[in-house]
Amino acid sequence: MDAINGLMTGFGVILTAQNLYFCLLGSLIGTLVGVLPGVGPLAALALLLPVTFTMQPVGGMVMLASIFYGAMYGGSTTSILLNIPGEAASVVTCIDGHKMARQGRAGAALGIAAIGSFIAGTLGVIIMTFFAPAIAAVAIRFGPPENFGLMVLGLVCTLYMITGSPVKGVLMIALGFLCAAIGIDVVNGRERFTFGSVDLSAGIELLAVVIGLFGVSEVLGNVETMAKSTLVSEKIRGLWPTLNDWRQSWRPMLRGSGLGFILGLVPGGGPVTASFMSYALEKRISPTPERFGEGAIEGVAGPESANNAAVAGSLIPVLSLGIPGNPVTALLLGALVIHGIQPGPLFVTQRPDLFWGIVASMYVGNVFLLVLNLPLVGLWAQLLRIPYRVLFPVVLLLSVIGTYSANKNVFDLWVMLGFGVAGYVLRKLEYDLAPFVIAFVLAPMLEQSMRQSLAMSADGAMIFLQRPGTALLLAASALLIALIFRRKRKIEGGMP
């Protein structure tokens, strides 16, 4: 019943003209960045984070969260009509969604994507309402060693979920740690890796890193190819699915919701993994797998539901444990810290207005998004006529504003450019950038937990094995590492 009371508190917070406006604004921006290829939710969040500095934390966080889940709705429009994913979690929607559009069923594909997103998003928030406070209630008993173990497990989970070389993933995590160590050591005030530079003494700005790695490097990749796309330009009709569409889609929607939510919970999972896994699952269990790739509506319903449910799932670890599972939630964590709020087990009890306000806003936001993405889908389709070559200079202008406005320091622009070029090159060499950002955000908390644990221990590092909770978390991490390298050996050996 605490959850119901909390939710009522949340609705009391969100149902004000100002907060509803921010929720609607975030939903609009989220749909917009989802629709426009080359502008993902992470870059949009990073660009708009400085705007929230002058806002009340509730309004700011509600807006940022709604950009995140709004982008999941918008991404499908571009995938279906243009065969280019509006954002990464809609990549698989291109396969069957665009095929449906080519067969004259764009309306059905867009309709089922929006309705599936709404159902999954709402189901995800319902589970989150009851699940997040329960997790926080357990985690509230954690001390520094358990927090350390939990963060290590989170990072190892991230490694488990990445594609490509796990060694490169480990290297990215360590680089994230090292970059986060630049600046003043908060424990004793000593400067580290600043080499006398005043600009470096404040540390490397998170926004400059994120906008560089995920905004600028994305633009560099896109201007390199400047791919021509084919927009399905016929009038969009029949958005409401037929009875047959419903019959084929309701099970994939429910499966996608469950799978997406679980994968959202796992650090390193999130919407992108969820959509791919859902597509693979639907194809595997379908009695007619040959229809997949030829315009199967299940190939749209499952992944689109999964990526929306994953958003709700991925917010649970960050809000109830203070552990981000993907770069977007890492940035949300950074945003909370900038607003002077430390997410974690105490967040639910110390800031119920904010916690429950965010949860309640997701119920409202999903309704806004259903309206924005069904009747107004034609409007979003018109936006797809803007060529990328006109769009990217504007994205770069916004990147400069977003980076500069954090500290009003030109040095951050050089950091953004440096990380942009580095991100572009590292992507070419198949480095996954997500572990870097997650490690960069987690590093200060991880270091603090480690130092506190060692300071309170009479037996040095043995404290991590003497505490049962920590030992269990570290054992799980070790098991996952073993699984990662076993999987890698299998792939290299060409084993099934």
């Binding site: 400085p50 705007v51 002058t54 070389s165 060694v167 490169k168 480990v170 290297l171 995590i173 360590a174 680089l175 740690f177 090292l178 160590a181 050591d185 424990v187 004793n188 000593r190 580290r192 890796f193 600028v216 633009v219 560099l220 201007v223 390199e224 190819t225 400047m226 070559r389 006109v390 990217f392 200079p393 504007v394 770069l396 202008l397 916004l398 400069v400 504003i401 500069y404 406005s405 009003k408 030109v410 622009l413 050089w414 953004m416 450019l417 942009g420 070029v421 572009y424 070419k428 060499l429 198949e430 590093a443 991880l446 270091e447 480690m450 130092r451 060692l454 300071a455 290299e492």
Partner: protein, 146 residues
């Protein structure tokens, strides 16, 4: 070849960072010191760099770096952003933004002069109005007050 050079760079970076972290102090009488965490991170970087150097399987399949017109476009964006960072303290956001946009539209998009000027001015005015005026962000101003 490039990737091998990068792996060597990781090893060198990790070694240098480890040496520096060691000078910060690893353990003090009151517990862990400032250098411990970066030392661990640096050691992982060195270890990963050595492993990547030794493993052929971790090499990217075919790193496809841009050439010709694609290199020109990528270089144009990098140069444009560098110009932005250089120009902002002296010319302010609006003027630097318009010049950068003009360069990007001419080099990357290869629009006509008239279209480039029009788009550059229109987008800068829109962005300054939205962020500077409507959202109240203090954008850097040049000697002309904008």
């Amino acid at each position: 070849m490039f990737e091998r050079a990068l792996n060597a760079f990781w090893i060198a970076l990790g070694a240098a960072a480890a040496a520096y972290a060691w000078t910060l102090g690893v353990m003090s009488p009151s517990g862990p010191d400032s250098g411990l965490f970066p030392l661990i991170a640096a050691a992982i970087i060195v270890g990963s760099g050595i492993t990547l150097m030794a493993q052929r399987a971790s090499l990217a399949a075919s790193p496809d770096f841009p050439r010709g017109a694609a290199l020109w476009r990528v270089g144009g964006v990098v140069a444009g952003l560098a110009l932005f960072a250089l120009g902002i303290p002296y010319l302010g956001f609006a003027i630097t933004g318009a010049i950068t946009m003009l360069i990007l539209l001419r080099t990357v998009e290869q629009s006509s002069w008239a279209m480039s000027v029009l788009l550059a001015i229109a987008s800068v005015v829109a962005v300054v109005w939205l962020f500077g005026h409507l959202l109240g962000m203090p954008l850097p101003r040049g000697p002309w007050g904008f």
